[in-house]
């Protein structure tokens, strides 16, 4: 799974690296454009284009019918009934391409979340590191040591929360540059990367998870923790990132949703896709 994740991740890295120092909206526009086009192609191949075209025509016809027979209340009502009927059919026609699209789009969104979901850390900023142990391991009785790379300072001793099976530290960034955190548990070690950057967009992996196909799909940013290490996950609490739209801070997925729809709409004629 990691092989797939790393290739998929590299593709996104290849796309975003040129825009890493630019305004995040540029990277977002590129991502929205590419996925918009990709999804249009999937929609075209998997949907009943003729059916969608017909059903949309019928909806438009009945909308015009309301206008044409505006003095006839019963015809207007019938037309409205027909619009609802064909609208349901239209939604039905969208169901099949949705099934085909949902897996790639989820994988894309997971990757985009690494680039647009979190703010990277900067010099002087502190953060929380959470290490969750596997079931059956008690944080109070587990020998765990944190060894950060140079430039990272451990500010507090480990906080062991027995109920959550979790051990937390507060750390701070003393120097810029790529860093990682080594965690030693019962003599075995796991390494968690830490992103400290001044780029406007950069890839941030907040969680490293245990080897498990489902977990790896959801958190594909780093290689999984080896099976014999008693750690369930290692998480760095990065600050949430927001897209700045004329002073209005919006979640990246909203921006992505709107932009990709705009691109989809703009290019549907060019790609001859009926949506």
């Amino acid at each position: 799974m990691w092989f797939f994740n790393s290739i998929f991740g590299k593709i996104f890295e290849f796309i975003f690296i040129p825009f890493s120092k630019m305004n995040p909206w540029i990277g977002m526009a590129v991502a929205s454009f590419l996925t918009g086009i990709f999804m249009l192609a999937i929609f075209r191949w998997t949907s009943n284009q003729e059916g969608i075209r017909n059903v949309k025509n019928k909806i438009k016809a009945h909308l015009l019918e309301i206008r044409l027979y505006k003095d006839n209340l019963s015809l207007s009502l019938k037309a409205q009934g027909n619009i609802l009927r064909y609208n349901l059919k239209y939604v039905g026609y969208s169901a099949k391409p949705m099934v085909f699209m949902i897996i790639p789009i989820v994988l894309i969104i997971i990757q985009l979340n690494f680039w647009f979901g979190y703010e990277s850390l900067s010099k002087g900023q502190n953060f929380i590191l959470k290490v969750k142990l596997k079931q059956g391991y008690n944080p109070l009785h587990t020998n765990i040591v944190l060894k950060p790379s140079s430039g990272i300072i451990i500010e507090t001793p480990p906080l062991r929360i027995e109920e959550e099976g979790e051990i937390d530290w507060r750390l701070a960034v003393a120097e810029e540059g790529s860093s990682n955190l080594q965690i030693l548990v019962n003599g075995q070690s796991a390494i968690k990367t830490l992103t400290v950057s001044q780029n406007s967009i950069c890839r941030i992996s907040p969680i490293k998870v245990q080897h498990n196909i489902f977990q790896e799909i959801l958190y594909p940013g780093e290689p999984p923790i080896k099976k014999d290490i008693p750690i369930q996950s290692i998480e760095i609490k990065y600050p949430q990132k927001r897209m700045n739209l004329f002073g209005w801070h919006i979640h990246w997925i909203i921006a992505y949703f709107i932009l990709s729809i705009i691109f989809g709409f703009a290019f549907k004629g060019f790609l001859k896709v009926e949506i």
Binding site: T35, G36, M39, L40, I42, F43, S47, I52, N57, K58, I59, K60, A61, H62, L63, L64, E65, I66, R67, L68, Y69, K70, D71, N72, L73, L75, S76, L77, Q80, I83, L84, N87, Y90, V91, Y93, S94, P97, M98, M101, I102, I105, V106, I109, I213, F214, I217, L218, I253, Y256, F257, S260, I261, F263, G264, F265, K268, K272, V273, I275
Partner: protein, 714 residues
Amino acid sequence: MTEKQIKRLKVFFILFFAIILPLKAYIGPGAGFAFLSSFLVLFLTFLLAIFSFLSWPFRFFVRMIKGQRAYKKSHINRLIILGLDGMEPALIEKFMSKGKLPNFSKLKNTGTYARLETTIPAISPVAWSSFMTGSHPCKHNIFDFLSRDPKTYLPDLSSSRVGNPKRVLSIGKYNIPLSKPEIKGLRKSIPFWKILGDKGIFSTILRVPITFPPEKFRGHLLSGMCTPDLKGSQGTFFFYTSDEEKIKKREGGINIPVTINNNSLETYISGPENTLVKTKEELRLPMKITFDNNKKDALIQVSGQKIRLKSKTFSDWIKLSFRAGLGIKVKAICRFYISQLDPHFEMYLTPLNIDPEKPALPISYPFIYSVYLAKLLGSYITLGEANDTWALNEGVLSEQAFLELSYYNHQEWENMLFNAMNKTKKGMVVSWFETTDSIQHMFFRYLDEKHPALKTGQAKMSKKVIEDLYQKMDELVGKVYNQLDDKSVLVVMSDHGFKSFRRCVNLNSWLYKNGYLSLKAGKLRSEEWFKDVDWEKTKAYGLGLGGVYINQKGRESKGIVNTGEETKALKKELIQKLNGLKDEECGAIAINKVFDRDELPPGPYKENCPDLIIGYNEGYRVSWESVTGKVNDIFFEDNTKAWSGDHCIDPRIVPGIFFINKKINTSTPSIVDIAPTTLELFGVNPPAHMDGHSLINKEIFYQAKKEGNTREKE
């Protein structure tokens, strides 16, 4: 896969989709857009519903206070008029007597059947104009398909004029229009549906001739005969062929020679003139065709589309988009038909119809009506003269293909009719069908064993074609009849009948040989549109399907005959000579009667009427050459074209048909009586300018109304 594994897989997918919910259930722009559109549609529908509910009482109230309590005086709720162009009484009577038309017979037995007096001349645009206005031609100004410009002696379309925009902005190579193109209807007087609409009675008028450009009234109208194609003509087909021997001048069409390389060819579709550029060059669409001779099909690539088409099969309507420049596109629809793949490639392309979804010219009232019909029922033919008779006449379409195409068109019109009927519980629906006219024009020779065209060209079918046509119309009447209620009236009518067209009369040649028309010095014949006529020595000339004009001083630009007595005397002389003109070769009378316009019912547009209208005898008609102003030395010749039936003859021998599911007050109804009858049925007094009279037997109607009211009270 074990059961446990399947369970695990199911759990995985459930968890997978459950966990992605925080991703706002976003599923891509395509489906996202679909859901967004769907939501917008629901929202819009909801708004419209609210608006309809809230505004309906106000609109109802406004109608009330305007005094448009439309149906208060009406004898009926609904009137359906089926116009079956050219249905011949003699044939319908024959088929009814043989029991082949049960629905027509039922209509006759429950109501009335009569022969319907037509107009002088008996030509569709004239007759249907009289139908809708209740007036004779001198009051509605339509005397033929063509009229003539007395300044140039050149023909004009009699029904409408489409001109360029009056104001244009000239920038570089472009002429950017600042106003709409001039589209002017030339038919005068008021159609009865306009009068009904003013009284609040709603009508749907489908394809009735001479309704282009569409006029404003209370109802819906789709223009019919005389609506142009995208090239501005009355229908220009295209014939693509790799056979050099078949490249010749074809009436009504354009030949496009093609060269085949490795089972494919590259050619073009010839579009309209680009009025946006100063050079007014023709717009063209490149087209590539690749064949598969084994599969007997071809792949046509045009306007960004790929159409796979089997040989001898019509394509569906294909949308074409011509780029005029400055982002402006002109839309058309057309159908392809590959008639042959080898040894030579041959393909027919229908005239470029105005796309009803995006009409380049207004073809309906309101404008959205044509769009509505296309969205609801699919694309449909918009050309006024829809059935491509010239393609069959010129041998581009086979008889079978022509019939197939005509019945495709007919089906579209039936769909429109039944949609309108379903929507009209109160009001009027008038639907015109060209099918009867065009099929009789092209197949009438099978009813005439002596017809010269049976020996030439395509003649592979039989008289069954006409019988089938009448039976199909009978089925249509049956379907409509079954939807009638007690307060519905059904009228089935034709504007004229049909007779065999065996012999052509070269009227202009006769005028030339008898000294009324002169040719330029040294010329013994003239090409089209009087090219070699010496107007300064010409007294009379023929133009169109039945008209003779006197070359009158002060009216024609080079007129030589004085108005008044000189014109009268010339007309008298011509009438005397032409009345009873004999075709010596056949020993038959070619012209029954010449009608003097001064003896026809008067009207304000009499000046535009031909001075004389020729009433040809059965079997005769003006020749193809004479119609277009050609002159030669042959008076009479055989008609060897597939166009073998006609009605542009003595109107007294080509009456139409008239069926109504009620009793009427005369046995000799006339086409001008339909409009006043319709008004009377809806309780509206016919205006004084109408020439016709109501056919309603008021006593029967009032009695029936009284009985109905009594029944309702009980």
